[in-house]
Symmetry: C2
Subunit: 257 residues, 2 copies
């Protein structure tokens, strides 16, 4: 009999978020599951790692083929600490999410969900980040199951190329309306900042972030186009930030040293 | 007379670090300078952004052509908040550093220094992150000046291609030994985690991160090779994490939806 794969699950909305529960449910159909997820919500923490503070792990649940821990750190801490003390090695697969909210386009750089997937990929583990385009706590994840299962089974059977992980975003609509899966590139976009200036009871100023997402292109090759047209977007992602196509552009600088 | 450029300076080691003082010194020779840097050390915070907490700004110094503020947030917060309330628009250039320690190879994904540069680039501002390969507080930055000045002047005169910023690392040796500038790609590497398990006075376990940097290649095209051979490494960096060379590889998934 084929051994059940060991699947490591984390997220950035915290161990109690409904999104991770939905992901755990699908993963337990596919393999043995170990969860190490942040004790507190950690969205927007990007690839932050905790080095100046100690970390703690708290066992929440342990039954045959399933363990769940809360970690006081970031999603990247969960991956690092989880591999050493919970997995005690490398899992067969790491999945992160389901994020409450989009991680398409430029959002990937701020995303704790995708940082966990990238961190796993750096360590050589096939990994996938899943996000639903609905920020609410009570988001309906029911239509995600079939897509998550299909994509995960494909990765478990075929593996992923070296140093590549997947960024999967799912439209927030009823399953019957989703047209299918589209393999995409990350769209060009940015957040336009708009902090709210407020005054505290001691008459001192403080600033609170709000922002507007600005899409700078809507090309059919992009994840944003796919999502707006009711496709599940799959972006293959790597952690080499080198702009290889501009290495030549700067080559003449070497002569000016 | 040509207008002096407006240069925005930040870092991740905190506004009181000697590295940012060294960078400010060089920048004040080249233009008007506004500094918004973290109140506390923030290295390893990656692209974290503060959304659930308010931020504060504290004016530390203001003289003709120079302003310095501390911000309670991360390096990315400093860029976002600084542009809105200190610069009140976009600067001509953003520089980040000088980081106490290397940001070569995979370290770029954990680096607050480079996250600030990437954040500026997302907003369309030419930006450069500078790092010295010496983690100590008392690091000698004196040999960095000439290289930083040369690279900054080049960017001020020529600009940078759209969506590209620079990751500059400087060996920790005497200036006379540095062979020059090398334009490189990011080396393949990773951190191998090794948390120390300790027990607190209440007999509860906690974990403290230490780690070993593992270089997985030493190709002459890489930043690690350049640095080990006493060159200043310049890596052009972008924020599109799409693995474009693997889009075709996954294309057949679309038929399985």
């Amino acid at each position: 009999m084929k051994k059940r794969p060991l699947i490591f699950v984390t997220n950035d909305d915290g161990v109690e978020a409904p999104g991770i529960e939905a992901l755990i449910k699908v993963m337990r159909e596919l393999g043995d599951v170990k969860v190490v997820a942040p004790l507190h919500p950690m969205s927007g923490t990007g690839h932050a790692v905790t080095a100046r503070e100690p970390l703690r792990l708290k066992l929440l649940e342990k039954i045959d083929g399933f363990e769940k821990y809360a970690c006081t750190g970031t999603p990247v801490d969960c991956v690092k600490l989880g591999e050493q003390f919970v997995i005690k090695g490398k899992p067969d697969l790491m999945v992160s999410g389901i994020n409450h909210g989009s991680n398409s386009a430029v959002n990937i750089v701020y995303s704790g969900t995708m940082a966990a997937a990238l961190e796993s990929a750096i360590g050589g583990v096939p990994s996938i980040g899943f996000s639903l385009l609905d920020y609410s706590h009570d988001a309906d994840f029911s239509h995600c199951d079939a897509f998550i299962k299909k994509i995960t089974e494909k990765v478990l059977s075929d593996g992923l190329p070296k140093d590549i992980c997947l960024n999967v975003n799912i439209p927030a609509i009823n399953g019957s309306e989703i047209k299918g899966i589209k393999v995409c590139r990350q769209a060009r976009s940015r957040w336009v900042e708009d902090y709210e200036l407020r005054v505290d009871p001691a008459q001192k100023e403080y600033f609170w972030l709000r922002g507007t997402f600005e899409l700078l292109e809507d090309h059919p090759e992009t994840d944003e186009w796919a999502l707006r047209n009711n496709y599940v977007s799959v972006v293959p992602v790597h952690f080499d930030l080198t702009a290889h196509h501009f290495l030549e552009h700067f080559k003449h600088w070497e002569n000016h040293a």
